[in-house]
């Protein structure tokens, strides 16, 4: 071995720094890692399917493969419920919150995948025939005529799911960064694949990518500073380093801030929320549903793990910041949402406001109590299901040129198709947190946790913001049901089996959790705390 190679190896691989020590077999708990392995494996298989299966059969193969993989992963998560294990040499923590969030992510991903499969394979698909074609070009028309279908959306979505599963489980910063990128990169691509309003979609993808790369840079910079302070990227080591030093070091503070920025970006908290409305609006609606539900769930898991496990010792420092971010996020989501005229943008601001409500519980944490953690977990489940359902309905209301997203087109929808409008109204009530929906208990849980954690001002702002958001939800209900329908209103697509299944899952979960929330609250209570 040449000295040069040894030098490079030493720089890249700390374990190999001394050529005389042997490389030990790392400990990997394959059972605990199974959900991630399954989803990652299925995604890779999906790439092979793209390579070898003939075009006509790819769609069905991919659908079966992806849904089967998700179901298998769900089974793996459920069978793992008793596992509380830090594995992969401390890189991955499979504990209660991880399993709970992985289960939730998989559940909403199944819903989202039903929508994706529905809209990818339909004759009037929502995905571009050939994403590389210039919008409006002859090549594009040729691709459309040829009936091309981008079945690559399935492996891409599955890679994103794999990232979402890894992200909250990561127990060191490097693994977390890998999870972050694995979940983000496919989403950047997917966001740009809309079939209609392609320029808007591509613009959204580019914006998402640029801002996402920007936030990733924050993460990496923060990681470097934290490493500089603690000499390690493992959460346990960071926590130890924090507990052993009494004086504050700006290095770790700035590092924490930069890490936090990247995570708050992912869960669309203000002032890093800018991408959210543009991307939600531009992306194909099934993808919007997927990332609105999945990304937020995974990002909250990761944020809580970073804050509670690694930086629990600094909670007196980050709590006021989370307070501030929560307040700004709630205000932005509530206030700017009022003047939105596009239903997807409106739901984007709604999603920002929900991030704020969730942050109140994170900000209300008194380290050592489990209430705020479990309330966030419950909220994420409730929010995930209602989001999938609401976007599924958005997909159904269509004009000649695709979805009719402008709210003026939704006027009088309740007269035209009372069932669809009724279900949408139900989801809006859930977003607003009114009975008999899961939204009520979710809000009650996070506000209660925040209040008991001493964040009463946050709760007051949360209440006011809820009232403002309720205003714009109710406004949609009013215009759907109490105004005369337009003469040339949009048509409502008869939902296929897939979309119906996704809507039914959403309605059922929202209603059942609205009537009997206790079992899930108990489950969330059992899932916490984070393994340190």
């Amino acid at each position: 071995m040449s000295p040069a190679i040894a030098h490079v190896a030493a720089a890249l691989l700390p374990g190999a720094a001394d050529p005389t020590t042997s490389f030990p077999t790392p400990h990997l708990d394959y059972r605990a890692l199974l959900p991630m392995l399954i989803v990652g494996g299925v995604a890779t298989l999906g790439v092979l399917v793209e390579a070898f299966v003939p075009r006509g059969k790819r769609g069905i193969t991919q659908t079966v493969l992806a849904l089967g993989g998700l179901v298998a992963a769900m089974v793996a998560v459920v069978s793992n419920t008793s596992i509380r294990n830090i594995t992969a040499e401390g890189a991955i923590s499979v504990d209660g919150p991880t399993l709970f969030i992985q289960g939730t992510v998989i559940a909403v991903s199944i819903g989202a995948l039903l929508l994706i499969a529905d809209r990818a394979l339909a004759s009037d698909a929502d995905f571009a025939a050939q994403a590389a074609d210039v919008p409006g070009s002859a090549a594009e028309q040729a691709s459309v005529r040829a009936g091309f279908v981008h079945t690559e959306v399935f492996p891409l979505a599955m890679f994103a799911v794999a990232g979402m599963l890894l992200f909250p489980a990561a127990n060191d910063l490097i693994t977390m960064f890998v999870g972050l990128e694995v979940l983000s990169l496919p989403l950047y691509l997917l966001a740009g694949m809309a079939r209609r309003r392609r320029l808007l979609s591509q613009e959204a993808a580019l914006k998402y990518f640029l801002l996402g790369a920007f936030s990733s840079a924050f993460f990496v910079y923060g990681m470097a500073l934290v490493y500089g302070y603690a000499g390690s990227v493992k959460f346990a080591d960071i926590a130890t380093a924090l507990s052993s030093s009494t004086h504050g070091d700006p290095l770790i503070i700035v590092g924490l801030a930069l890490l936090g920025i990247a995570l708050i970006f992912k869960l669309s908290g203000a002032p890093f929320h800018w991408w959210t409305p543009d991307v939600y609006q531009g992306a194909p609606t099934p993808i919007t549903a997927f990332m609105a539900a999945g990304t937020k769930i995974a990002a909250f898991g990761a944020l809580m793990r970073v804050l509670f496990v690694a930086f629990g010792g600094l909670s007196w420092d980050w709590r006021p910041i989370i307070w501030g971010v929560a307040i700004v996020t709630m205000v932005v989501g509530a206030v700017i949402g009022v003047t939105q005229t596009d239903v997807k943008r409106l739901l984007a601001y709604s999603s920002i406001a929900h991030a704020g409500f969730l942050l109140t519980a994170v900000g209300g944490i008194t380290v050592g109590t489990a209430d705020s953690e479990s309330s966030v977990l419950f909220y994420l489940v409730a929010y995930g299901f209602m989001t999938i359902g609401a976007f599924a309905i958005v997909m159904l209301v269509r004009d000649a040129d695709g979805e009719a997203n402008h709210l003026s087109r939704w006027v009088g929808l309740g007269r035209r198709s009372p069932l669809i409008a009724g279900i949408f109204a139900f989801f809006l009530l859930a977003f607003a947190g009114l009975p008999p929906t899961s939204g009520l208990w979710a809000k009650v849980a996070v506000f209660k946790a925040a209040y008991e954690g001493g964040a009463a001002p946050l709760v007051i702002v949360g209440m006011l913001a809820s009232a403002v958001t309720a205003y714009y939800y109710v406004r949609i209900i009013v215009l759907m049901f109490f105004q005369e329908p337009a003469v040339d209103g949009p048509t409502v697509l008869a939902p296929t089996v897939f979309t119906s299944a996704a809507v039914v899952i959403g309605v059922a979960a929202t209603l059942v959790l609205g009537i009997v929330p206790q079992p899930l609250l108990d489950l969330a209570g059992k899932a916490v705390p984070f393994l340190r």
């Binding site: 071995m1 190679i5 040894a6 490079v8 190896a9 890249l12 691989l13 374990g15 190999a16 050529p19 020590t21 042997s22 490389f23 030990p24 077999t25 790392p26 890779t44 790439v47 092979l48 793209e50 390579a51 070898f52 590389a132 210039v134 700006p250």
Partner: protein, 123 residues
């Protein structure tokens, strides 16, 4: 505590000052004789390929080539430290071997995809 930032501040100033100095000094000292070649994009001294002016685009082939290059480049970089660890006696040989096979297979799956879908055909 604040004093520990003085070197950083100094470095910022130095960097910014150098940038400003270079631009101004270049303008002041250098001769300015423009011709068509100087306006062209610099492509390692060869004739520049057609530029995307007026709605044209780079052929996506370049992008593919670049991507494939990066894929194999990273793979090779990864192989070096692996080889160092593998060469040691008494280590987790089987584990390391399997891991690398998995890594290479995964990379090759992407390669196979590109190949099967015609990404390697120049035209």
């Amino acid at each position: 505590m604040v004093f520990s930032y003085v070197p950083v501040l100094a470095l910022f100033l130095l960097a910014g000052g150098f940038a400003v100095f270079s631009i101004i000094a270049g303008r002041l000292s250098g001769p300015r004789r423009y011709n068509r070649a100087k306006y062209d994009a610099y492509e390692c001294g060869i004739e520049p390929t057609p530029q995307p002016i007026g709605g044209g685009r780079f052929p996506v082939k370049y992008y593919l080539t670049a991507m494939l290059f990066i894929v194999f480049d990273i793979e090779i970089i990864f192989l070096y430290p692996w080889a160092v660890a593998f060469a040691q006696k008494g280590g987790a040989t089987v584990f390391l071997f399997v891991e690398m096979v998995l890594f290479i297979v995964t990379v090759f799956i992407a390669y196979v995809y590109v190949w099967r879908r015609g990404g390697l055909e120049w035209d």
